[in-house]
Symmetry: C2
Subunit: 437 residues, 2 copies
């Protein structure tokens, strides 16, 4: 088994002995297996565990996880997060919310401690489960492929079946923690795993291998298409996608239509797209569930989502549209901005809590940092070339006195950090990318 | 319901009151429903029923079918065919063999009696079942689309769910015949219908609608791809596909690779295809399960199939590779050749039964019609520009004295019809196209 994974890693050039990795660890069989194998092969990695505080046995799990890391003589980061409350507040399903939070926390550590990549213990079974979840939603281009490497994430055991893992661990007498919620039939994924996949194995012994081949064939259809449209790069966020409009506009009309059609199928497709919609080259149009804007720089397809004002307390975080926003008291200004992350620091004593996040309203104004005159925030959006369509889904961080921070756009003059500042408040905002799963 | 189907037919311009149709009728709910509705709307159609002689209740079914036609005051063709024996002899699954025979017999009537199209009572459930059958086989480009119209076939109720049909018939107190083999769990299709689809409906109430959307999205990916490769026309036969090599060869290498990859996925894909394989522009190469030939006129991908010699008795038919061959005593020479069908007539008393079909062997010779000198049959293949790869899968109709007929290529001088011929023997051969299902 070790040899097989070694071969898979080498053939696909996934890992490198000169790099440092952070392995997302849950204590379940998959991540126990991945840790065990990579430890044996001798890669440099450490563990990250997020206690979701979801279940009564959460402490027991955390204890197991810490002991496992100790036995492996690997450092482990343990964080706790009230996932249930977060999901309720943000109207997310537990599974989706937990995934988003896990990714955010993991990414934070990757950046903070300079890891090269995060390692996820996804298996072939996860791939098949995702395939079904996506086709049940009516996806097309959103059907996941065999992505061993994606942005900052690597999946070194994506070719292994879960039952192989479990029998390996049992044979080797390696302990793992069984998450009782994995058999909770109110989760679609669990029913796919516990009922659908075994049924398919029963009615067609070669069926699952066929599905894996199909996934591969669909991936080939996707890459064929991207090739045809000059490799237009699509960036997927939680509720919208962005693409290079220059390349898009240079396509003939019939290809533009197909591109739009396929891009919509990343979500769940939109059957009401008509040829008329793509007749005009630049501009906006609305479909039943989406708004589309093509401007000189970007093409954007945005799901129609309702965004209500949300309160954001200190040391809490929330999701607003496609943004993950955190509010935290900190001791220093260590976080830096990057393409997907914006951070601003404030003198807490100059602010008027409670804080809240809302979308823009007609006539919103703000005094920008290092300025002394109020201006319409519309001008700030224009300065930063934020597409019109996105402005209606953009978060404004406010206190009782007005707008404090427009992530990736501007912050206000008020509350700036001074020599004598005692209490530093940080607002960190990340655009949520939506990849494989 | 009638209104809904009328709208579907009109929106998709499926049927026309000036045309005559032949409806493939089984007595089951779907075809009873289709007949009832089209009768009400007032289209001109007649019925075709093939008694498969498979089940003990076959006579009862035939009786029901005839009575139904009588009540509807529509003409019905009733044919009988020993499907089980045919499938055994040709090593086909019952379902596949029955489908091929039904198509052949139906097509025969379409040609013979000048119908415009055949009507099939396929429903949304059939589409979903086919989707699963195909993904279990590892298909990609072979995943079926919402094909309401395909060659000589029209599917006017492809947007209707089976349970809608059954409750309509029950409400209207319209009788239908229940085929007991539809609940035979040894058929993959039946288990998909009886177990998989209900499970999906249970675990995800919107899952099936999602799958229908996915099918549509995949269809769009397929048509995108065909557009990219200059609409290369692919013809699908049972065991091979043919495409225009001129267009193929004019593609850049990377597109040729993708085209080949996707074309292979019409069957079940072939993961061992390498870039090296498409480096050479013309020529042949072998993969694990396929042989590929690119020549000046055609590109051909052929499954590796074993073809053994088969006996063909009078008034019987068989399948040899991608050909359906019939041997029949007839009174006149009514059948004509067409692109997919070749026919030759012989004076039975000049032949030496039994007849058999085999593939070519080194040194095969024949005296061609209206010639008097024996020539190598290789020359005949060359004259007719039959691609080399196909020659090894081509049927030769023989008697004890030698080769009589090479369909679509040549027949022998021996046994030609004379004024004094009493017993006419017909050999009819059709290339089996493989469409949606």
């Amino acid at each position: 088994m070790i040899e097989r994974i070694k071969r898979f890693i080498d053939e696909n050039r996934l890992l490198n002995k000169n790099e440092r990795y952070l392995l997302s660890f849950s204590g379940g069989p998959d991540s126990v297996f991945l840790s065990f194998i990579l430890d044996k092969i001798g890669y440099e990695f450490e563990l990250f565990y997020l206690n979701h505080l979801l279940r009564e046995d959460a402490d027991k799990e955390e204890k197991f996880v810490k002991e496992f890391a100790e036995k492996l003589k690997r450092k482990i980061f343990v964080e706790r997060f009230d996932v249930k409350r977060f999901c309720e507040e943000n109207k997310l399903g537990i599974e989706e919310g937990a995934r988003i939070i896990r990714r955010e926390k993991l990414y934070e550590k990757i950046i903070q401690f300079n890891y090269n990549y995060a390692l996820l213990a996804h298996t072939l079974d996860d791939l098949i489960e995702n395939f079904f979840i996506r086709i049940f939603r009516g996806s097309g281009f959103g059907i996941p492929g065999m992505k061993m490497k994606e942005d900052w994430i690597i999946r070194p055991i994506l070719n292994i079946r879960k039952n192989e893992i479990v029998s390996f661990l049992n044979n080797e007498k390696i302990e793992y923690y069984i998450d009782p919620s994995n058999s909770d039939r109110s989760f679609l994924r669990n029913r796919i795993r516990m009922e659908l996949i075994p049924l398919i194995e029963d009615i067609s012994p070669t069926g699952l291998n066929g599905i894996i081949k199909t996934i591969d064939n669909i991936e080939s259809m996707k890459s064929s298409f991207y090739k045809m449209v000059k490799d237009i790069k699509i960036r997927r966020f939680l509720n919208h996608i962005e693409f290079d409009s220059g390349k898009y506009l240079s396509l003939p009309e019939s290809l533009r239509f197909l591109f739009m059609r396929n891009a919509l199928s990343i979500f769940s497709g939109e059957l009401e797209l008509k040829k008329e919609h793509i007749k005009k080259s630049e501009g906006r149009f609305e479909l039943k569930n989406f708004i589309v804007e093509i401007n000189k720089n970007f093409g954007i397809i945005h799901k129609k989502v309702q965004l209500e004002e949300k309160r954001l307390d200190i040391d809490k975080s929330l999701i607003f549209g496609d943004f993950y926003i955190e509010c935290k008291k900190v001791d220093d200004l260590i976080y830096k901005k990057n393409e997907f992350e914006d951070v601003e620091y404030f003198d807490l004593n100059d602010l008027f809590p409670p804080f809240f996040i809302r979308k823009r309203e007609e006539g919103d104004k703000m005094v920008r940092f290092r300025k002394n005159r109020e201006r319409k925030i519309k001008d700030f959006f224009i300065d930063k070339k934020i597409p019109v369509i996105l402005r209606d889904f953009w978060p404004l961080v406010c206190d009782r006195n007005g707008i404090l921070f427009i992530p990736f756009v501007a912050r206000c003059e008020r509350g700036k950090i001074k020599k004598e500042t005692k209490d530093i408040l940080m607002f960190k905002c990340r655009r949520i990318l939506n990849g494989w799963t």
